[in-house]
C-alpha cells in the first residue's frame, strides 16, 4: 500500500476554507446552503426538521433525542501516512459542520460549480432541511494497533485499556466481514435520505485514505434517549428502551456514559464515550408464532402498554418482588429481569435501530435490531450486561451476527477544532 496519494487539493478546498466556512455557518446558520429550517446553534432540535448543534462538550448523537433513521458506517484506514489521516479527519469535520447545519458537504455545492466541474456534494439532500442530522465519530482498537500488532500511526500507547475487542459470547455467530473497523461514523437523522447523504459524502471525501468495511441502515429507532420522547416498539412489537439512560439524568450519564477525567485514556477521551454495536438478527417467524403469553414472559413486559409484568403502566417501577400465583410476576429468565440495572449491576445508554435487509433466501425476513450502546467502559457496560443475559429467555429468538467497539472522542468545541484533535495532537 502506497502512503502517497492524498488528495491535498480536495482537502485543502474544504479544510483550508474551514475557518471561514465555520464562521459563516455560525453567523448565518442555515441561511446559506440548502436549509431554511432554523438556527443550527439553537438548543436541541425541537422539531424533526431542525438542526442539532454540531459542537459541544460531548459529541451530538449520543444523548441527542434519538432520531428516527440511521446509517452507520465502519471504515478501515488504507493509508499508512498519519498526516493523510489527520487531513481527512479535518476535511470530514468541515463537511460534518456543514451537513449537520443543513448545508452541502462541500464549499461549492451540488450545482454551483459549473457544468464541467464534478460537484463537491452529491445532491440528494438538496431542498431537504437539516432533519436533526447528527454525525458521531469513533476510533476502533485496530486504529491503534492492527490485528497483527503493527502500530501504524504511533498511537499504540494511547489506546485506553477498555478499548479492546469484545469477548466471545455463547450462541453468537459473528461475521468478521460486518464486524470491527478502524473508524466509525454514526449518522442519525429524521429523514433517511439525509443520513445516507451524509455518509456517502464523507466516504467520498475519504477516497484513498479509508475504505468502507461495512455499513448498516436502520429504519426506526428502538430507544428513547430523552424523557420527552415516546417509547418506540421494536420488531418484536414491544416497547423498547423504557428504562434507558436519558439526557435528563446527567448524574447517571456521568456515572455510566461519559469517560471521566481519571479514567484510562482521559487525556484525549475525557468527555467521550465508548460505543458498542451488535447486529442482532431476530428469528421473526418463530417469534410471530409464539403465544402472547410466551412473548410477554420472554420480555418481562406487557405488549400493549409496555408495563412491567405485575404493573399497570409503562413507567411503573420494575419490581421484582411482585408475585403472581406464588411466582415472580417478572420471570427470572425474562429479558427485563436479566438486563435491568438491578440485576446486571450496571447501565448503558441504548440507541439501537430496527433493520430489515430484505429476505434471507429462504423466504424469511432478514431483520432485527442493530443494537447500539454507549457506555463509560465496555467491560462494565455492555459486556457485563451481555454476560448476565446468558440464560435470557429471549436468546431463543435472537442471534448476534456482528460486533464492534469504538472510542468516541469528546465533542468538537471551537471553530478550529476537529474530530480526533485530542488524540492526534
Amino acid at each position: 500500500m502506497s502512503a502517497e496519494g492524498l488528495s491535498r487539493r480536495r482537502f485543502f478546498g474544504l479544510a483550508g476554507a474551514g475557518t471561514a466556512g465555520v464562521i459563516a455557518a455560525g453567523a448565518a446558520g442555515g441561511a446559506i446552503g440548502r436549509a431554511t429550517a432554523g438556527e443550527p446553534l439553537a438548543p436541541p432540535a425541537s422539531t424533526a426538521t431542525d438542526a442539532v448543534p454540531f459542537t459541544g462538550e460531548h459529541q451530538a448523537g449520543i444523548v441527542t433525542p434519538a432520531q428516527d433513521r440511521l446509517h452507520f458506517v465502519a471504515l478501515d484506514v488504507i493509508t499508512d501516512d498519519r498526516a493523510e489521516l489527520v487531513e481527512m479527519l479535518q476535511a470530514w469535520t468541515a463537511a460534518a459542520r456543514r451537513m449537520t447545519a443543513g448545508q452541502d458537504a462541500g464549499e461549492v455545492g451540488a450545482v454551483e460549480g459549473g457544468q464541467y466541474a464534478v460537484p463537491d456534494d452529491t445532491g440528494e439532500a438538496l431542498d431537504l432541511p437539516a432533519s436533526g442530522l447528527t454525525l458521531t465519530i469513533g476510533f476502533g482498537p485496530t486504529l491503534f494497533t492492527t490485528a497483527d500488532g503493527v502500530d501504524r500511526f504511533g498511537l499504540a500507547d494511547r489506546r485506553p485499556g477498555p478499548l479492546a475487542e469484545l469477548p466471545a459470547f455463547p450462541g453468537e455467530a459473528i461475521d468478521p466481514a460486518i464486524s470491527g473497523g478502524d473508524l466509525c461514523v454514526q449518522a442519525c437523522a429524521n429523514d433517511p435520505q439525509v443520513a445516507v447523504h451524509a455518509v456517502r459524502n464523507l466516504v467520498r471525501l475519504g477516497a484513498g485514505v479509508v475504505s468502507v468495511r461495512w455499513s448498516q441502515l436502520g429504519f426506526g429507532r428502538t430507544s428513547s434517549t430523552s424523557s420527552a420522547q415516546a417509547t418506540p416498539r421494536n420488531l418484536f412489537g414491544f416497547k423498547d428502551g423504557t428504562d434507558n439512560l436519558k439526557a435528563e439524568a446527567p448524574k447517571a450519564l456521568d456515572q455510566f456514559v461519559w469517560v471521566a477525567d481519571d479514567d484510562p485514556g482521559a487525556d484525549w477521551l475525557a468527555g467521550g464515550s465508548y460505543v458498542v454495536t451488535r447486529k442482532i438478527r431476530m428469528r421473526i417467524e418463530q417469534w410471530d408464532t409464539a403465544t402472547l403469553a410466551d412473548q410477554e414472559q420472554t420480555i418481562g413486559r406487557t405488549k400493549k402498554a409496555g408495563a412491567p409484568l405485575g404493573q399497570a403502566a409503562e413507567f411503573d417501577p420494575v419490581d421484582f418482588a411482585v408475585q403472581v400465583d406464588g411466582q415472580p410476576a417478572i420471570p427470572v429468565r425474562s429479558h427485563v429481569a436479566l438486563a435491568h440495572p438491578t440485576n446486571s449491576g450496571t447501565a448503558i445508554l441504548r440507541r439501537g435501530y430496527s433493520f430489515v435487509d430484505g429476505s434471507d433466501g429462504l423466504g424469511r425476513l432478514d431483520a432485527g435490531l442493530f443494537f447500539i450502546a454507549y457506555q463509560r467502559d465496555p467491560e462494565t457496560g455492555f459486556v457485563q450486561v451481555q454476560r448476565n443475559l446468558r440464560t435470557d429467555a429471549m436468546n431463543e429468538y435472537v442471534q448476534h451476527t456482528s460486533s464492534a467497539v469504538f472510542a468516541c472522542p469528546p465533542g468538537v468545541t471551537g471553530p478550529d477544532d476537529w474530530w480526533g484533535r485530542t488524540l492526534f495532537s
Binding site: 502506497s2 502517497e4 488504507i78 464541467y116 466541474a117 477516497a207 484513498g208
Partner: protein, 383 residues
C-alpha cells in the same frame, strides 16, 4: 491483411498527408509534420529481454528517427516519454527479430526512452536530453497539441490491435486452442487501452466487445467474448470461423475509423475517467472476461489508456493546476503498485484467484484515483 497493411504504410510514410488534412481542419500539427521532414539521423535502439540500449542520450531539438531492433525472445514496445510519462512517440508490438522505425519531433527538454519487453510494466528506461531553444506553447496550442498527441497514441494502438487480432483470429481458424488463448488477452490489451474511442462508434462496439446476454432479441452474440466462450468453456472452436472472420473485419473497420478521430480536450478528460469507470464496473467484478478470467489484463490496459489520455493534457494541466497533476501522478503510481502485486510471468493472475480482500484493495485504489482524474474536465473547461 491487405487493407490494414496499406493503412499502416500510409500513416508511416505519407504522414505528410495527415498533416495536410489536419491543417485543413485548422490544427497545427508539428508531430505529424515531422513525418514529412527528413530526419536528421537514425538512432539505433538495441532492445532485448533485459536491455534497451539507445545509441544517443543527447540530441539537438528537431526531427529524429529511431530504429528499434528486438533481439530478445519477447514482443517489445519502445516509447519516448516526456515528463510524467507523457508519450511523445511509441512503436508497439515489435516481435522478436524484427526492426521498426519511429520518427518523432522532439522540442528541447528532458525525456526518457523505454523498452517494454513483454509489453508490461515501466520498462527499461534511459535518460534522453534534447538541447536547443524551448518554445512555449500558448494555451490553445497546448490543448490542440493534446488532441494530436493522443491521436498518435491511438494510431499506435490501433496498428497493434489489428496485428494481434489478426493473429488471434488466425489461430482460432487454425484450431490452435492454446495459441488463441495466449493471444486473446494480448489483442484485447490494445482494444482496452483505447476503449472510449472504440466505444464512440456505437454500432461496432457491441458486436466486437458485447458480452453474452447484452444482445437485443434476434441479435447474435459475436466478437471477442463469443470466441472466448468457445475457447474456455467448450474448448471447441470448429464453428468459430465465421465469428473470427467477422471480428477481424469489424476490427479493421473500427481501426480505420478510429485513426481519423481527433478527440477534443474535454473528450480526452472524459475518456480518461471513462476508462477508470470501466475498471470499476467491469474488471473488478470479473464480468468482462467471465470465461477466461483474464480481467487483470484488461484492468492494466484500461489504466494505461487512462494515463495516456491524462498525460496528453499534461502540459496544459501543469500550467493550470500543478497540484492536481501531482495528485494524479501519485494515485496512478499507487494504483500501478497495487496492481503489480498480481503480475504472473508475462501476464497477470487469473481473476478467479483473487481474494475479496485483494479485490477490495484494487477497488480502493481505483476509487482514490478516479476522484482527481474526474476533476480534469473542469480544469480543461476553465480555459
Amino acid at each position: 491483411m491487405s487493407k490494414p497493411a496499406r493503412r499502416r504504410t500510409t500513416l508511416a510514410v505519407l504522414a505528410g498527408m495527415t498533416a495536410l488534412s489536419l491543417a485543413a481542419c485548422g490544427n497545427e500539427d508539428p508531430a505529424a509534420a515531422a513525418g514529412g521532414e527528413a530526419a536528421a539521423d537514425d538512432i539505433a535502439v538495441a532492445a532485448s529481454d533485459d536491455a534497451c540500449d539507445v545509441a544517443s542520450s543527447e540530441l539537438p531539438a528537431g526531427v529524429h528517427q529511431f530504429t528499434v531492433t528486438n533481439s530478445g525472445s519477447k514482443v517489445t514496445e519502445f516509447y519516448v516519454y516526456a515528463d510524467g510519462d507523457r508519450v511523445m512517440a511509441e512503436v508497439e508490438n515489435i516481435a522478436p527479430g524484427v526492426a521498426r522505425e519511429l520518427r518523432v519531433e522532439l522540442p528541447a527538454g528532458e525525456y526518457e526512452t523505454a523498452c517494454k519487453p513483454g509489453m508490461i510494466g515501466d520498462g527499461i528506461r534511459s535518460a534522453l536530453v534534447v538541447s536547443g531553444e524551448a518554445t512555449a506553447l500558448s494555451q490553445d496550442e497546448s490543448l490542440a497539441q493534446a488532441g494530436v498527441d493522443y491521436q498518435r497514441y491511438v494510431q499506435s494502438q490501433t496498428g497493434a490491435l489489428l496485428e494481434q487480432t489478426t493473429a488471434f483470429t488466425d489461430a482460432v481458424k487454425a484450431g490452435d486452442i492454446e495459441g488463441a488463448k495466449a493471444l486473446f488477452p494480448v489483442a484485447r490489451t490494445y482494444w482496452e487501452r483505447i476503449e472510449p474511442v472504440a466505444e464512440s462508434f456505437g454500432d461496432l462496439d457491441p458486436i466486437i466487445d458485447g458480452r453474452e446476454g447484452d444482445q437485443a432479441e434476434g441479435e447474435d452474440f459475436t466478437g471477442f467474448h463469443r470466441i472466448e466462450k468457445a475457447l474456455w468453456e467448450t474448448g471447441d472452436v470448429s464453428d468459430m470461423g465465421p465469428y473470427a472472420d467477422q471480428l477481424k473485419s469489424n476490427v479493421e473497420e473500427i481501426v480505420a475509423r478510429a485513426n481519423e478521430v481527433t478527440l477534443d480536450p474535454l473528450q480526452l478528460a472524459n475518456g480518461a475517467k471513462a476508462l477508470l469507470d470501466e475498471i470499476a464496473t467491469g474488471k473488478i467484478t470479473g464480468e468482462e472476461d467471465r470465461y477466461s478470467h483474464t480481467d487483470l489484463w484488461d484492468f492494466s490496459a484500461n489504466l494505461e489508456g487512462s494515463e495516456a489520455a491524462v498525460q496528453a493534457l499534461r502540459p496544459y494541466l501543469e500550467t493550470h493546476d500543478a497540484e492536481l497533476v501531482a495528485e494524479i501522478d501519485e494515485r496512478f503510481a499507487a494504483t500501478e503498485e497495487e496492481l503489480a502485486q498480481y503480475r504472473s510471468g508475462d501476464g497477470w493472475t487469473s481473476y478467479e484467484q483473487l481474494t475479496q480482500d485483494q479485490l477490495r484493495g484494487l477497488s480502493d485504489s481505483i476509487t482514490a484515483l478516479t476522484e482527481p482524474v474526474s476533476q480534469v474536465a473542469a480544469v480543461v473547461a476553465e480555459k
